[in-house]
């Protein structure tokens, strides 16, 4: 059995308590949510926090999935399984269900959280691409108070976010707008594997014209998990396979994959194009009500 190096453990009883604990314990303390990213890294001794602050008792405050005004709100402590099972999330953004079906396996999904996924900032994280496509906004809270950060600005590099050591992610918000559809496409070597590459798309149509579009990419070295050039080129274009293919090409040109056991650079770049196109096609079909 792999076992972590020594650490101390505290259980937070409220959001305020968690933030206070993080302040007291210093920058080598870590929040533990589902623990499915952090604890494996601790067992491999790649992560060596001095202390863990367990926020799993804060479900009542942090695990809700609900509509608030024009926003879908997802608590940071919502589990992957909660999001997969959430009718309201699926109704407004089917991309969540597409993605959650192919993230990890049921055991991991029962524990891993939405906030933990985004804060982990793994360069192959699926939800980062989903929230980038939807242009979601994260609510963070630290000792100085609350701030809002676009998910597209949350990640500053592999395994690095803008969160201060004593900041907690509270929830994520996605604006609900009419005429939209969304979808997620992933290639994996085996079910439960991180993606070789994946793309998420959200489109809002005016008739047959793309009014607005969001494209998220993961595992291909896309800056902030997004494809702004492709989005800009697609806005105002006809919602046809041809324009989607062109957008896919642009997305592929602007990403920066690296070779590993999942595949070589050109293959991943090809997937960025292919999966972006497929996700756009499906998102548009959904926006037209042609596909569930």
């Amino acid at each position: 059995m792999q076992v972590p190096a020594p650490f101390t453990y505290e259980r937070a009883t409220s959001v305020e308590h968690a933030i206070a604990l993080l302040g007291e314990l210093g920058p080598e303390a870590r929040v533990v949510a589902g623990g499915h990213s952090l604890i494996p890294m601790m067992k491999l001794r790649l992560a060596r926090p001095d202390a863990l602050v367990d926020i799993n008792g804060l479900g009542a405050e942090l695990a809700q999935i609900r509509v608030d005004g024009d926003d879908l709100v997802i608590g940071s402590l919502a589990r992957h399984a909660d999001l997969l099972g959430s009718a309201v999330a699926g109704e407004h953004f089917p991309i969540f269900h597409d993605a959650e079906k192919v993230i990890a396996d049921p055991v991991v999904r029962n524990f891993g959280t939405v906030g933990g996924s985004l804060c982990q900032a793994d360069p192959a994280e699926d939800l980062a691409a989903v929230f980038a496509a939807l242009d979601g906004v994260a609510t963070l809270r630290g000792p100085a108070g609350v701030r809002q950060v676009r998910v597209r600005e949350l990640h500053v590099g592999p395994y690095e976010t803008v969160l201060a050591p004593d900041e907690l992610m509270l929830e994520l918000r996605v604006a609900i707008r009419p005429g939209g559809g969304s979808a997620y496409e992933k290639v994996e070597r085996r079910v439960g594997d991180y993606p070789v590459a994946a793309a998420g798309a959200a489109v809002w149509l005016d008739g047959d014209t793309v009014r607005d579009v969001g494209i998220g990419l993961t595992a291909v070295g896309a800056e902030h998990f997004a494809a702004p050039e492709a989005e800009a080129a697609l806005r105002g274009q006809p919602a046809t396979e041809e324009s989607f293919r062109a957008a896919g090409q642009l997305a592929a040109e602007h990403c920066n994959p690296s070779a590993d056991q999942r595949g070589p650079v050109d293959y991943k770049r090809h997937l960025a194009a292919e999966l972006t196109t497929r996700a756009l096609l499906r998102a548009a079909a959904r926006a037209r009500g042609q596909e569930a």
Binding site: M1, V3, V187, R190, V196, R262, G263, Y267
Partner: protein, 791 residues
């Protein structure tokens, strides 16, 4: 689904597995469940380098850890003469490195502490001064003139060569090739893979300082062989060693050999006078324990223009890692690779195998390969498809045309092996009928018109399992024959003691059924004892699908001895001559007077009673035997796989898999099917997703289950199984082994299917694993050569 009957089950047929009563409730007892009073915990420090000189090791900080009792290095062992141990292939392997490390993950030091956490913490406190050396990670470079010599510990070793081996007749084969109308050659790699049982390796050593008796709880597929090896190596008297293999969570050949960790738990217990547990973690297991395959093969096939296969010529470069620790019969350095002629009637065949050292983990075992038969079958079944490709022939038809015919059995191959029995065309025809072969080909043609990629892969295999005979097959001089002891208690309940050891195959059920079949006793009334050298007769253990062919035969024969003895007792009970008795399913009865008879239960009680027994009968009802198999058994099968390939992503979906297996008489068909299911899943894994890869520095790139992928139910279709039954003529109950059949036969069926799907792209061969990236590469004109890790 076939339902399982409710009345007391007796003899062959489907019945629930006896062991599942504990296993499915989580009440199994594995090595890591063993907790002894005062038990300490060991952990190994392993090398971060694939090849490096050890300048010095400083253990002082680790020793100062408050919970550490001892830190042992190679230097300590040297003093005890234990720094090196023999491997199963007449090589030696470092227990703890002294001079240098030779692969990443090699054992360097052993810490013993009060708890597992402290042992791990202290491992990190050991400071080793390494001097990195040039690395040989690629077998093809091992024999280069400038390659560093890995085994400079061996006297006279000046390069990385281990052995040259050949089989078949070279001159005859060359002549056939010289005159053949068609000759096709292909380079085919069977990449390094890992058995990856879910339970990692481990042991708990308990040396009793008072009695001098060592009890070793260990993950061993071959407890008796291990005991003897410990006696020979450590100089411990054999009767003072008790090896217990409790429940084993999968072996697949990985738990045949002896690992440094086992030895260190023993040394640790001797040093501390307390029981010492050592259980490796997943990364350690995948990095350092016995791998499988790593065969770089070049095949050539000769044929006539109309598809009659004439000959096969094969050259193999075998990567054995840093120590030659392959688990196989000692006189067989390339295992049973001789069967590379497969299931076909050839005029000539020849192969050579060269084994080399590399800076990679040692091993090269089974992994359900029956000693290299997986490699052999993969080679020949790929070559037949390569030939079909060149001849534009249908791969099923081509096979049908060349299969050994039923009337040719017993069939002696061009490498001198005698296949015992078979009806190959019948099995292939059944598989084709089950698949709806012609319909599938029609569907494929239509799909190709539309630009969709669908493939149908065919593979036929012949296995060779059940080693010995002992005169040909031994491991370190221990002949491959196995004992069995059967005792019938006065009340008619039985205890069978066998030398083989289940790792999940269901021995406690199957072997009880064999006894029940011979004696008419209910399965539930027969206890099977195994995995404890103090309680069971000697034998070489479970691997190479040998349990049923060897111990299954021993069990049937020992039960027949009991039956014969029971006959004499019955004759005394019935006051008739033994010659007047006949056996009727579960009792001896008087010929022509079926009212007069005695069941085994009645006889057992009498045999223990005050009944006056005839001269020459000792009383009680027990017997022992040793079975030395006259030949291997040769199970076979025909597999057909159907895949769909997404040409936009290279993703492969296995849509259907039809598996017709012939393993002779089936004792428990449910258990047989379970073995086949597991092997088929294994095959999908190897074909599509598995490789133990290294970079140029010899860094291991697959040391977790996130990197080394095991297939799940979602990658596997609902298996479609069929069977034919050709009993083995020389096995007492006509059974052949089946444990590895599906692992041997399935990888090639999957690979053949994928290559069939992408045939329109002009791809003739591609190496496993056929990941989406690899398939996409092939579609885009890149040859798929799996070498090192990163493309």
């Amino acid at each position: 689904m076939t339902t399982v009957e409710e009345r007391p089950h007796t003899g062959f047929g489907r019945t629930l597995r006896k062991e599942d009563v504990r296993l499915v409730r989580g009440k199994g007892n594995y090595v890591d469940d063993v907790r002894l009073p005062g038990m300490l915990h060991g952990a190994l420090l392993r090398s971060p380098y694939a090849h490096a000189k050890i300048n010095s090791i400083d253990t002082s900080a680790a020793e100062a850890h408050p919970k550490v009792l001892a830190v042992i290095t190679g230097e300590t062992l040297k003093g005890l003469g234990l720094a090196w141990m023999p491997t199963l292939s007449y090589d030696v392997q470092a227990v703890l490195a002294t001079d240098k490390v030779r692969y990443q993950g090699q054992e360097v030091a052993f810490v013993i502490a009060e708890d597992h956490y402290s042992a791990r913490d202290a491992v990190e406190l050991i400071e080793v001064d390494y001097e990195p050396l040039p690395v040989v990670a690629d077998a093809k470079k091992a024999m280069a003139a400038d390659a560093p010599v890995i085994r400079d510990d061996k006297e006279g070793q000046t390069d990385n060569h281990i052995f040259d081996w050949e089989s078949g007749d070279q001159a005859e084969t060359d002549a056939v090739f010289a005159n053949a109308e068609v000759v096709v050659a292909e380079d085919i790699l069977y990449p390094r893979v890992h058995p990856a049982p879910l339970e990692t390796c481990g042991s708990v050593a308990d040396m009793d300082p008072v009695t001098g008796k060592l009890t070793l709880y260990t993950t061993s597929q071959a407890p008796h062989a291990h005991r003897t090896v410990y006696a020979l190596v450590a100089g411990l008297p054999e009767h003072k060693i008790r090896v217990i293999s409790p429940d084993i969570g999968g072996g697949f050949g990985n738990k045949v050999g002896i690992y440094p960790g086992y030895v260190m738990s023993i040394v640790g217990s001797i040093v501390t006078g307390k029981p010492v547990k050592w259980v490796e973690d997943r990364a350690e297991h995948l990095m350092s324990t016995a791998f499988a395959r790593d065969y770089h093969m070049r095949g050539e096939i000769a044929a006539t223009k109309d598809g009659k296969i004439l000959g096969l010529r094969v050259k193999v470069l075998a990567d054995h890692g840093a120590f030659n620790a392959t688990a196989q019969p000692t006189k067989f350095p390339a295992g049973f690779f001789h069967v590379f002629t497969g299931s076909y009637d050839l005029q000539a065949a020849h192969c050579t195998v060269t084994g080399v050292y590399t800076n990679k983990a040692p091993g090269g075992v089974a992994y359900a390969c029956s000693f290299r038969i997986t490699e052999a079958v993969y080679l020949v079944e790929r070559m037949v498809d390569v030939l079909a490709y060149e001849l534009k022939a249908d791969p099923a038809e081509l096979r049908m045309k060349n299969l050994i015919q039923p009337e040719q059995f017993p069939y002696t191959t061009k490498t001198g092996w005698e296949y015992d029995s078979g009806d190959y065309p019948k099995a292939l025809q059944l598989a084709m009928d089950m698949a709806g072969y012609d319909e599938l080909r029609k569907e494929q043609a239509e799909k190709r018109e539309r630009g969709e990629l669908m493939g149908i892969g065919v593979a036929f295999f012949t296995e060779a399992v059940g080693a010995g005979p002992r005169k040909h097959m031994d491991i370190l001089g221990l002949g491959m024959a196995d004992g069995a002891e059967l005792r019938i208690h006065p009340t008619g309940k039985a205890v069978l003691r066998i030398s083989v050891k289940t790792q999940g195959q269901g021995h406690e059920t199957t072997f009880a059924q064999i006894v029940g079949n011979e004696l008419g006793l209910p399965t539930a009334d027969i206890e099977v004892v195994h995995g404890d050298t103090d309680q069971t007769p000697f034998g070489l253990g479970t691997y190479g699908s040998r349990s049923t062919p060897v111990s299954g035969a021993a069990t049937a024969l020992v039960a027949r001895k009991i039956r014969d003895k029971a006959k004499i007792v019955a004759s005394a009970m019935l006051e008739v001559s033994p010659d007047d008795l006949e056996w009727e399913g579960n009792r001896w009865q008087v010929k022509g007077d079926p009212e007069q008879g005695k069941t085994i239960q009645e006889i057992a009680l009498a045999a223990h009673s005050s009944l006056e027994l005839p001269e020459g009968v000792e009383g009680h009802l027990d017997a022992t035997t040793v079975y030395n198999p006259p030949n291997l058994t040769y199970p076979f099968g025909a597999y057909i796989c159907v895949v769909d390939v997404d040409k936009g992503t290279g993703g492969v979906k296995v849509r259907r898999f039809i598996a017709v297996d012939d393993c002779g008489v089936r004792i428990n068909p449910m258990i047989v099917e379970g073995q086949v299911h597991g092997g088929l899943a294994d095959g999908v894994g190897m074909a599509l997703m598995q490789v133990i890869a290294f970079d140029e520095e010899g860094n291991h790139l697959g040391a977790s289950f996130m990197d080394y992928l095991l297939p799940t139910s979602l990658e596997c279709p609902s298996w479609e199984l069929g069977e034919t039954t050709t009993p083995s003529p020389h096995h007492p109950i006509g059974a052949k082994g089946v444990g590895e059949s599906a692992t041997v036969g399935s990888p090639c069926a999957v690979v053949n299917a994928v290559l069939d799907a992408i045939k329109p792209y002009g791809v003739r061969h591609a190496d496993m694993p056929l990941t989406p990236a690899a398939v996409w590469g092939a579609l885009n004109g890149r040859p798929i050569r799996t070498d090192l890790a990163i493309p």
